[in-house]
Amino acid sequence: MAIATNQTILIVGGGISGMTAAIEAAEIGKNVILIEKRPFIGGRVSQIYKYFPKLCFPTCGLEINQKRIKQNSGINILTMSQVASVTGSTGDYEVVIKTSPRYINEKCTACGDCATVATSEIDNEFNYNLNKTKSAYLPYSNAYPQRYVIDESVIKTDEGKKIADSCKVGAVDLSMQESETTLKVASIIWATGWQPFDADKIQPYGHDRFDNVISSVEFERMMDPMGPTSGKLVRPSDGRDAKNVAFVQCAGSRDHNYLKHCSRICCMATLKQTTYITDTYEDGKADIYYIDIRAIDRFEDFYQKIKNKDNVNFIKSKVASITEDKKNKNPVLNGVDTEGYHRYANSYDMVVLAVGMQPAMDTSILPKDITINEHGFMENNDNNGGMFAAGCAADALDVNRSVQSATAAALKAVQVVNSQS
């Protein structure tokens, strides 16, 4: 690894925002270290099936960025790594980083022999634990770096030995230990992103009780051909086609009981997800229950396009509760609509909760004077010295805006570096 100096920019979080900031800073010749706590970079974007507004596949954009990273010798990536502590000030930070063992080194060719001999299974984090994966696994097909991971649980077992023996290139190293690195850097960009609000907490909606109530992030995984249902749009309870689907907006957002802020992207995400249904089934139908539709910025066109469809309906009402029809496991939405005050109890094949975006940043490791707003997002201002927030660490943003925010953060970080020499 390149030596970190007071000319280096550290980027924490390797989602689309962290990748962008790293590339932008490195392409003008700066030294960048990118750390990511998962075994691969790409963040939540890699778990999305299609992108709004163009409805293309995010793999394409991620691949371009992976290529730019590969071509640039100024970027060093540390996966499975997290910041343990930060001290110092602008231009001169000392950061301690903890790296968990992957048990696989750079020699890995991603041939998959280790996974073939692995017998035990672990929760598949990439698919929000909707299915299992082998204890030796590639997080997902396009993962960068293309390198397997061996789960902690099998290291000291016979299975671990078998996995090690299966590797023909000597990439398995069961003796790896957690390691600690101390870095000197000039500036830090926090691009730690977001996490989905835990749908189980919204008790009246029964995500924890009813099989056919799923969250929007789970729905994205379900549509992926490599996902838990191999891309089939079916009900979790019985595998039947899910043709009549309801979306519940603001599931956890704009609600003092959960997240106070508007997560901003969920309206667009739902409008997009209705096309998953209407594109899959000719007789598919989607109903959207909403307080207001907030198709951010210039996305009003997209909203109008979806609104003009006969098989997508909009019901102005925050759903009061979801119950389950015991006969057929259909979720039933209960509430009163605001346009006419009609009481309803509508039954569906499946319900998608448009869950809110919650900041993922662990603020306890930040120095005290960093500005964190009441929602947990890091606000950029002069008090933060040489530290900048990018993407969803700064606010609930879509990819387009995350990338803009990351580019701005990179420029700020470059200014800090330049003012050092």
Binding site: P204, D255, N257, S317, V319, A320, G335, V336, R343
Partner: protein
């Protein structure tokens, strides 16, 4: 700026804000409908809280204050717990009921209102509820014949309550009382005057 906002507030909304307990919350309702959908009695009454709040903002004083809605609330608190904006809905509904009663606009012959009045009169007389009298007043609330019928129907319950010392026939003569009855009355009068000063100003 605040002048601008005030232009959008009709007189009835302002009246509710200043005179109804917790009335200042009404403007915060975003009409999402969770209270209406969460009310276990929601389809039994004329107007749900969501509707009442919209009617207030539309200036419909007569319709709001003569509605039976506020009198049907059982204080289960489902609406308060679920309201995404933390409006104290149950309390606002009770505040509206109280205000309607004060102005004489509350629906006539509403059983909840009648019972509330009987209970209040009974309680404030001695500072203790006289179970016997409350019970009998309630039975005879809708006339003599109705009262006899209900009394006969409830006979067994009444006898069991006497047996278990839940109430005593002796209550018919005066009944038990707090020690300082005149002190209690002074206190209630003062509270009433304070409340009137606020509402009638």
């Amino acid at each position: 700026m605040s002048d601008m906002i005030n232009q959008y507030r009709n007189n009835f909304l302002k009246e509710v804000e200043s005179k109804v307990e917790e009335g200042e919350w009404v403007k915060n309702c975003m009409q999402c409908g969770v209270c209406a959908g969460s009310c276990p009695l929601g389809d039994a009454w004329e107007h749900t809280p969501q509707k009442i709040f919209m009617m207030i903002r539309a200036g419909k004083k007569q319709e709001v204050l003569s509605s039976d809605a506020m009198w049907m609330c059982t204080s289960c608190y489902n609406c308060i717990v679920r309201c995404p904006r933390e409006l104290p809905i149950t309390h606002i509904m009770h505040g509206l009921a109280h205000y309607a009663k004060r102005l004489g606009l509350a629906p006539k012959n509403n059983p909840t209102l009648k019972f509330a009045q009987i209970f209040w009169n009974n309680l404030t007389k001695t500072g203790r509820v006289n179970e016997l009298k409350v019970g009998l007043s309630l039975y005879f609330m809708n006339g003599f014949v109705e009262g006899i019928k209900t009394s006969l129907k409830m006979q067994k319950v009444g006898l069991n309550m006497i047996k278990n010392k839940r109430f005593s026939i002796a209550e018919a003569w005066g009944g038990h009382s707090v020690k300082d009855k005149s002190g209690l009355h002074k206190m209630l009068k003062k509270a009433y005057d304070l409340e009137s000063a606020r509402v009638d100003k």
